[in-house]
Symmetry: C2
Subunit: 105 residues, 2 copies
């Protein structure tokens, strides 16, 4: 079963953003370029999945990976222009969440 009447670009965007962790990784990188372990501890993702996601996002042109030959080597991840352009989407989600999401407590 697969006869979507939905715009393929929109579908692709949705599948990018609803890949688990991807939106959080992008959100995290909105505050500037960061290293693997910084992202990992900021959002609480496993190394394996973070590694997968960063590769995905790099292939989709959302994230850029840069090797800085310091000692020890530093690998910095940052957003491309395409990635930064998702800020408006994430800000929308952020403000929606403040209005509508209740934290049970």
């Amino acid at each position: 079963m697969k006869q979507p009447t939905i715009c393929p670009k929109f579908e692709k965007a949705i599948s990018l953003l609803s890949q688990r962790w991807s939106a959080l990784v992008i959100y995290q990188l909105l505050s500037g370029s960061q290293r693997f372990s910084e992202i990992q501890s900021a959002i609480g993702i496993s190394g394996k999945v973070l590694s997968d996601r960063l590769k995905d996002l790099e292939h989709q042109g959302v994230v850029k990976r840069e090797v800085i030959p310091e000692t020890p080597v530093i690998i910095e991840y940052s957003l491309t222009e395409k990635g930064r352009s998702l800020e408006s989407v994430l800000r929308e989600i952020e403000s929606w969440s403040q209005l509508w999401v209740k934290t049970e407590a």
Copy 2:
């Protein structure tokens, strides 16, 4: 590992929207209330997963389920106010996708 420094409301919103299919179901319901099988064929989701998602979304107060005692019985799904308020998020994603997503072809 789990020490997120991220706002819990935002995280919850992200986890709602990055549940696979949820955003597409909500998007589909933006065009008006619909029956199970309509949603199913519009977005190409299996009955099992659609059933799960609709229950989830109902519990989160995003979707409303209404039984209309016609013959045969009609079950209509629609967005609540909370659900409709996600329109801005989905429109952002939609316009982002038009600018940035390339369909390979």
